[in-house]
C-alpha cells in the first residue's frame, strides 16, 4: 500500500512541480484569468494524452508499431525539456515587469504569445508520467486483491498530490516572491536538464547516436541511482551513477548555455530589451544580442 502510494506520488511529482509553480506565478499576474484558462486547458490536454498513451501501453490501441512509442516518448521528452527552459526565461522577462505589463499593451501581447507554449508544457508534464500511473493503477484494479485497494490508493494518491500542491502554494506565500521565484527557476532548470539527459539516452538506446564512453565512471557506492532517493534525484536532476559520456556532454553544454543566458538576463535591469518596448524605456544596445 505504502509502495503503491509512493509510486503514484512519484509519477505525479513532475507534473505537480510544473503546474504548481506556474499556478503560483500566474496568480500574481494582472492577466491571471487568461493564463489560468491555458493552465487548466493544459492539464485537461495532459490527462487526455496520458489516457491515450496508457491505451497504447496496454496494447488496446496499438497505432504506434515497433519503436513508435519510443520515438514518441523521445519527442515528448525533448520538447518538454526545451519548452521548460523557454518558460523559465519567459517568466524571468515578465516576472519583473508586472507593472509595466499593465502599462504597455505591447508587452502584454508578447506575453500572450507564449500562452500556447505554457499549455503544451503543462500537457507534456501531466501526460508523460501520468500515463505510467494509469497503467500502474490499471494493474492494481485488474488484480482481484487490488480492486479493494484501488479506491484507497487513488484517494490517498490524490491527497498526497494536493498536499504537495498546497505546500508549493504556501511556499509562494511564506517565502518572499524573489526567493520563491529563484527556487522555482532552479527546480525547473534542473528538471529540464534531467529531461535532456533522458532524451539523449533514449537516442542512444535507439542506436541513433553513440554513447561514446559508457560508463564513464561509477559512483553508485556514493549515491545509487536505482534506489528510492537516488531514483528521485536522478529523475529530477539527470544524475547518473554510471553515466555515459554523450549525455554528460549534453548536460555540461546545457548548463553552460543556461548559465550564460541567466547572466545575460540578470545583467539587464530593463527586461524590456527582449519585449520590444517603445517609449519611456530606451533599449540599451552595446551589442548584447
Amino acid at each position: 500500500m505504502g509502495n503503491a502510494l509512493f509510486i503514484v506520488w512519484r509519477e505525479s511529482a513532475e507534473a505537480l512541480l510544473v503546474v504548481g509553480i506556474l499556478f503560483a506565478w500566474l496568480r500574481k499576474r494582472p492577466d491571471a484569468a487568461v493564463g489560468m484558462r491555458y493552465l487548466w486547458g493544459g492539464v485537461a490536454a495532459g490527462i487526455g494524452l496520458a489516457i491515450a498513451l496508457a491505451l497504447v501501453m496496454l496494447g488496446i490501441a496499438s497505432t504506434l508499431s515497433g519503436n513508435g512509442l519510443e520515438w514518441f516518448q523521445l519527442a515528448m521528452t525533448a520538447v518538454a525539456s526545451g519548452l521548460i527552459v523557454q518558460m523559465v526565461f519567459w517568466m524571468r522577462r515578465h516576472g519583473r515587469t508586472f507593472k509595466r505589463d499593465l502599462e504597455t499593451d505591447m508587452a502584454r501581447n508578447a506575453g500572450a504569445a507564449n500562452w500556447w507554449g505554457l499549455l503544451i508544457v503543462v500537457a507534456l508534464a501531466v501526460g508523460r508520467e501520468t500515463a505510467e500511473t494509469v497503467v500502474f493503477l490499471y494493474g492494481l484494479g485488474a488484480d482481484k486483491g487490488g480492486i479493494t485497494n484501488l479506491p484507497i490508493v487513488l484517494l490517498l494518491g490524490l491527497g498526497a498530490a494536493f498536499a504537495t500542491f498546497w505546500v508549493l502554494q504556501q511556499g509562494s506565500r511564506i517565502l518572499s516572491w524573489h526567493v520563491f521565484f529563484r527556487v522555482s527557476e532552479v527546480l525547473l532548470l534542473l528538471l529540464a536538464g534531467a529531461l535532456l539527459v533522458s532524451a539523449v539516452e533514449k537516442l542512444i538506446a535507439l542506436d541513433v547516436v553513440p554513447a561514446l564512453v559508457d560508463p564513464l565512471w561509477n559512483t553508485s557506492a556514493l549515491l545509487d541511482d536505482s534506489g528510492r532517493m537516488g531514483g528521485l534525484i536522478a529523475s529530477f536532476t539527470g544524475y547518473r551513477a554510471r553515466p555515459a559520456l554523450l549525455p554528460l556532454l549534453a548536460l555540461a553544454l546545457y548548463w553552460t548555455l543556461v548559465w550564460i543566458f541567466l547572466r545575460r538576463s540578470s545583467g539587464r535591469h530593463a527586461p524590456s530589451t527582449l519585449v520590444k518596448s517603445h517609449g519611456a524605456h530606451p533599449v540599451p544596445r552595446a551589442g548584447r544580442n
Binding site: N3, I7, M57, L58, G59, A131, E132, V135, F136, Y138, G139, L140, A142, D143, K144, G145, G146, E201, K202, I204, A205, D207, A211, D214, P215, D225, S226, G227, R228, G231, A234, R240, A241, R242, A244
Partner: protein
C-alpha cells in the same frame, strides 16, 4: 552513361547497408525474461560482449511492472499479461543492473556481459 553509374553506386551501397542491417537485426540473440509481481526470472542474464541483443519481457504477474535500467538506458511499462521487447546495443564486459520500478524492493536483476 556516366551519370547513371554515379547514381547507381550509392544505391548499391544503400541496398548493401540495408541488407547488412537486416542481417544484423536477425542475428541479434534474444533472451527471455519473465516478470512476476516483483520477481525476475532469471534474475541474471549472461550475454556475450560486443553484440546487440534483445530481451523479451513477459509480465506474468497480476500487477503492472516498469522494466527500468539506467545502466542500459531502458524504461518500459508493461501491464499484467503484457509483453515487450527491448533491444540493447553492444555492451562492454561488465555488470548492468535492471529493476522493476513498480516493485523496487524485490524486482532486481542484472545482465552480466562477458
Amino acid at each position: 552513361m556516366k551519370p547513371t553509374t554515379r547514381l547507381k553506386r550509392p544505391l548499391v551501397f544503400v541496398a548493401a547497408a540495408l541488407l547488412a542491417s537486416g542481417a544484423l537485426a536477425q542475428e541479434a540473440a534474444s533472451y527471455k525474461l519473465t516478470a512476476r509481481d516483483g520477481v525476475f526470472e532469471p534474475a541474471t542474464i549472461e550475454v556475450p560482449a560486443g553484440k546487440r541483443f534483445r530481451i523479451e519481457i513477459v509480465n506474468q504477474g497480476k500487477s503492472a511492472i516498469e522494466f527500468e535500467s539506467r545502466d542500459l538506458k531502458q524504461e518500459k511499462v508493461i501491464p499484467p499479461g503484457g509483453k515487450a521487447t527491448v533491444t540493447i546495443n553492444a555492451l562492454k564486459a561488465g555488470e548492468y543492473r535492471f529493476f522493476d520500478e513498480f516493485h523496487e524492493k524485490t524486482g532486481q536483476g542484472k545482465i552480466v556481459v562477458k
